[in-house]
Amino acid sequence: MNKVKHSFVRRDKVTALRRVLMVLLFGILALAFCSIFIASQGFNPVEVYAKMFKSAFGSWKLGWAKSIQTGVPLMMCGLAVSIAFKMNLNNIGAEGQFAMGAIAAAGVALFWNLPGFLQIPVMIIVSILAGCAWALIAALLKAFWNINETIVTLMLNYVALLYLDYLCYGPWKNTTSLGLPYSNDIPETAVLPSIFGGISSSFILAIVMAVIMYLFFKYTTTGFQVSVIKNGPASARYAGINVRRNILVVLGISGALAGLTGSLQVSGVIYHLQPNIPQGAGYTGIVIAYLSKFNPLIVVLVAIFFGGLEKGAYAVQTMGVPSQLATMIRGAILIFVLASEFFTEYRLKSSKSALKEKEA
């Protein structure tokens, strides 16, 4: 007579193995989900996935190297977004900070006649300052008037991207080619060297940043303050921690990382300024940050995977599959993996088994 009712109860302990398995399982489910759409367009999903994988990770020079290269800006933006989220701040503006960094770096390379050995360091510093300044607009508004940083950073993206467009179509437009909206190419001395057969050395810089960020949160007093502010805002007030200062520091660093990405992209991959240089990396960075649970070392791995995804999606274009496939898979994986968290943390329990437990 007793109807069995089901309820979810929280697991007492979640092992690392369960976490990894759940993420993999739900990642595969996401691919299965996307295969419905692939099949509906008349393609064989297995073939499509196989080709994507082969092109992304099938060889070193044309596979891995390119995937990593594509992954570097995603990695940097993922780190930038993560550091802000570590204090529950939403930096949706990595895209715009990226663009400002790119503009600053390209400006230095194109219009400032520096000695060759100084060019790259100055580009890097200026791009960091530009990204940082762009983020500080939102940070100041947040710190002093508690204005929602999500909206401000998002809106500033449009300003930055349109300014980039303006420069590319207008004053900085190149003097040589066929009227394409590009700037002139940067001088040879402003180009980052390649390593490992084809990856720009920006990859090394990104890894260094990830490690620094990891150590920053683990070993510095500022990192400590940030985790207190995130996990217990009332406790932070009680401990006399200066929340305002930390908002400025954290959003400033976040913007600096995104700005740096701009310089790396200009001097490592594209070699000139062009519209939409970030190509959505700032937004993909948000997805990566969430999937990595804001752990900088995992950001590196996820970003490389996403780089491969993009590379693979371009490759399957030859089969006639639109490259937007990458965007779809990314979205599906995010949703499925976020959903998996629920099943990682909770388990299903029926009222019948609850009664049984009681009798036992």
């Binding site: 009712k5 309820s7 070993y219 510095t220 007093t221 500022t222 400590f224 303050q225 985790s227 207190v228 996990n231 217990g232 009332a234 406790s235 007030r237 009680y238 401990a239 006399g240 009222s351 609850a354 009664l355 009681k358």
Partner: protein, 526 residues
Amino acid sequence: MGELVLEMRGVTKTFPGVIANDNVNLELYAGEIHALLGENGAGKSTLMNCLTGIYKPDAGEIYHKGKPIVINSPKHAVDIGVGMVHQHFRLIPPLSVAENIMLTSGKCPLVLKTDEINDAIRACSKEFNLELSPEAKVWQLSVGEQQRVEIVKLLYRGAEILILDEPSAVLTPQESVEMFKTLRMMADSGKAVVFISHKMNEVMDNSDRITVLRGGKSIATVTRDKFDKDELTIMMVGHNLERKADRAKAALNEVLLEVDNLSAINDRGFRGLKHVSFKLHKGEILGIAGVAGNGQRLLAEAVTGLRPAEEGKILYKKKDVTKWSIKQRKEAGMSFVPEDRLHMGLVPSLNLMDNLILKEYYYDKYSKKGILNKAAIRKDAEECVERYNIKNAGVEYPVRLMSGGNQQKLLVAREVKSGPDLLVVAYPVRGLDIGAINAIHEIMDEERKRGAAIIMISEDLDEVFEMSDNVSVLFDGYMSEPVPVDQITRKEIGALMAGEGLGETSIAELKEDLEIREANKKKEED
């Protein structure tokens, strides 16, 4: 008395480190008003939360009209006719009364027929003489009216068993009388009414039967007219504890803290602490009794620097510290154990080491040039755990995994380990088991002997009498003159706690209050 509608047999509910309910029995009959009497922390609310499906008992059975039942969820509780008015109302301020009632009624059609609903609510409230306007927005209502909304909410969805958690706590005396009249009408119409209380008078005046809880156990269920107050009091509080011998001599020591005409504004923009003045000596424990919410939090926060003083002065070690920041005061030797130990005192998701350095992370012993010295922190944490006997799974585990008692031990240990001169503790043993209570009291005693001055805010008279040198009472923001503990009786304190003899808010002050609030509002708008 009517039918036996609900029965709890041997209900036990434990939380980590605390047995909230221990083998409790309770019977509820239709048509009765049943009082659950007990001190703070006796397990009254937990027991009722087991009935409303918020908690699930670890052991014991619940019978509904004679049939065993497992209450799975609050929704399930509503389905069988159990409804509860919580101490903190579950209302949505921007919505209207009718909308609030609708929301939980389960009768929420896609298109609202507002007129019909309003009429139904009016009829429902009229039946029990509960004056309510369904169109009014909840935020515009007084607390008493909001409580009426909560009651009508239960009636509207057909509750047969109504539970009220300390219903009179938020009401004026006149409102209380009205409220109990309503409860009587509901009982007369065949509902079972339960109210939780620790006030002897209202229990004696308004209930048919009384179940006394103490330390999580049901001591007895009695019929009201067969027992008198004194017998019930002894059931409720147990026997008097012995008073320590060396109390009330601290007044001879040097003055450490002098508070002069201190007032402070509470979170709602009212003056919640009013013209408080007192002196505190080295090696003195000043016990501040009073029902929670009478300015205790403001006093503690104003003294330790979390809240600005609206007027008045704080002299500490002969210096005016009124404008000092929290950090400055901490560095000058003030410590604070706040009442909200899990949201202010500790950060539950951080580990024991992190919590231990919460206020001192920038001290030289823990960090140099912004880099934390993890080895030193770990060593200190392990010493502290050992010294104060804090049980834990390891210093690198989040403190939320620790029991309430050990969390509090950690918090108190952190606050005293630097050897403070002034320690402010708010409700230091609330909700703890006896072992933890003794440990905390021992630490406080040691600190007192070392020469620290302690302000101890408490609502537990046993604690106040056992620990304090001098005693004072906060009521409605006013504080009574501290008196040596051996020159005052429980009865006198009880009278002060109920507001007898302490300043009542004069009309002039009310006006001043309103002005302050207006000024604050303007400030916020700008």
